[in-house]
Symmetry: C2
Subunit: 389 residues, 2 copies
Amino acid sequence: MYKLPKHEAEARLKKIQQIIVDTDAEACVITSSVNQYYLLGYIFDGYLYVMREGDPYLFVKRPTNIKGEGVKPVYKPELIPALLREMGVKPPKRVVLETDQLSYSAAVRLQAALEMPEVNNASGELRKARMVKSEYELEQMRESARAHAKVYETIPSLYRKGMTDLELQIEIERQMRLHGSVGIFRSFGENMDIFMGSMLAGDNAQAPSPYDYALGGAGVSPLLPIGANGSVLEPGTTLMVDMAGNYRPYMDDMTRTYVIEHAPDLAYKAHQVSIDIHKAIVEKFKVGTECSDLYIRAEEMARENGLAPYFMGTTQQAKFIGHGVGLEINEPPVLSPRSKEQLLPGMAFALEPKFVLPGIGAVGIENTYIVRENGLENITLFEEELIHL
Amino acid sequence: MYKLPKHEAEARLKKIQQIIVDTDAEACVITSSVNQYYLLGYIFDGYLYVMREGDPYLFVKRPTNIKGEGVKPVYKPELIPALLREMGVKPPKRVVLETDQLSYSAAVRLQAALEMPEVNNASGELRKARMVKSEYELEQMRESARAHAKVYETIPSLYRKGMTDLELQIEIERQMRLHGSVGIFRSFGENMDIFMGSMLAGDNAQAPSPYDYALGGAGVSPLLPIGANGSVLEPGTTLMVDMAGNYRPYMDDMTRTYVIEHAPDLAYKAHQVSIDIHKAIVEKFKVGTECSDLYIRAEEMARENGLAPYFMGTTQQAKFIGHGVGLEINEPPVLSPRSKEQLLPGMAFALEPKFVLPGIGAVGIENTYIVRENGLENITLFEEELIHL
């Protein structure tokens, strides 16, 4: 039933079963690809039915080739109660669902099919269950980060004078795919559309977007207003490269900044402050630190250096400087001014203090760190200074 | 307020307002990117509030730079009733939402915010409103199809002996981007993940997938089990190329089949049956034909030619031979055995009778047709025979 190492599958199942106990439920029905993959190591169209004890049941619409005990073909959710009874399981009184991901229509249909008096949400708990990672998961993130670094290494050789941001992005996308990027970029929530990542050249870094990313960019399509806008890479401006780190199911996140020929002093100064924020946070880090502490420290350093107006954007400023990373690019915790979430061993997060400088562009770096007993492990090992093209 | 030609914006608004009347509602709140774009020509994070008459209101979370009468910043939906009252609008008694797209959590929050006794769904009606296209919309689809054809034209020059399906796909992806593909592939529903389209080489065409596409393929990641699986393109097999036609907001859909060096006679025979099905359907077409008629005709011709076991898959057979196309790749109507939907002028649909031949691969073609008073207009003009690599 599982396509994961046995101890991984067991540990993950236990976490979900604990959520079922904690939410006073008898079962949890998992329908999102990410959480199906988390539990099983693969995905299907259907209902992954987890109980307080024992292996889950799989009620499968597609594909037709999943076999095993507890795997039952269904073409609609209304068949589930009878199948449960056949297997000697009393239809449950209380089930938790992923109602942050399921559409209203699908959730209500599932509620009726399972004869539930109410709909209960486990989305948040399931996301929290994925927050602390195992060595198996973290090693995938390190592998992803190594491929990511190899791709960024090719950027100077891909650049040609007079190129647009989009032309360079297309060559980087090709390198990403050749280095194993799966292409699609998994995220949580309704305002996270993007294609393979973000390239922000010059003043396009100031363009606000509808999405919940740290920075924006106008994009090239009115249906996807984010990132590169087709502007020529001009000498004296910067190019911020924040392309996806999706080389494994578990991802990393890394931003580096390139300078087109030369840049004003302010670019170097602000970029150094971003690096210094990373250094200060790594140096002072203790297990149990609250996320808000990291935000406050970064914001303080931006202010002390006179960079507050440029911190995390200009016309639209993001109110976070980092976020958890894993199977999705925006996992908990969020490094925001009010998050009391503690950073604990096994968590992985991206830290991205960035500045947007009018007339120049965005500067700063983003690294992905793993929280370890003795401090932070940087897995995104790549030149941090401004890189000249 | 609109970034569309005036007559387009007016006609689209009227269609939505008719839905509000038909569903006995006072307003419709649009939250999906696709329907926001349909009405406005751009998207935002927030609530597009359409009433039976007059211009809509925009309650905008992000971006911060949308200006105009009726545009109000909000950071949460609970602020909407007070803002409506300020503008002299009585808070509505009945509002329709897009509950096939909105998450359960978001829909319930919106329901409470607007003090609605129940949640009512307009997703299906809104999709139907987009079914009949204007000349403005159809022209974008023709433009997309022309770019699509130019990309397919490059394929023989991209091919190298011994390549894998994925290696060739990566080069095609690059050509797509250079020809204006926006990258992401807009679709409706919860089982439609894919990255830039599908390449099926040899027996990988038989691998069933969890997704609602015509054919499957094992994919290269357990988190995205669809399409190319990294197998070498072997002489004597076929390669079916069904990459996205997303060169404009309005898309086309086109499949062509390539032969690696040579292929058994059965490949030529079955491919010709696919072409003949297209011809038969185009010849017999009359405005008002029901979708099921097209399916039945195609299935009949597959049977008459002894190809029923290979029709639309082997281990898992799709129960449709085509679908509407527009802002999303899977718009209504569906060409399925029981669809009584009539094909009317201004509709656009993809027709994809395909065969999967064990030991050889998938064959057949997919064209996109526009329904016109006097018949079908094929917009995907490109070599239809098997193309040799």
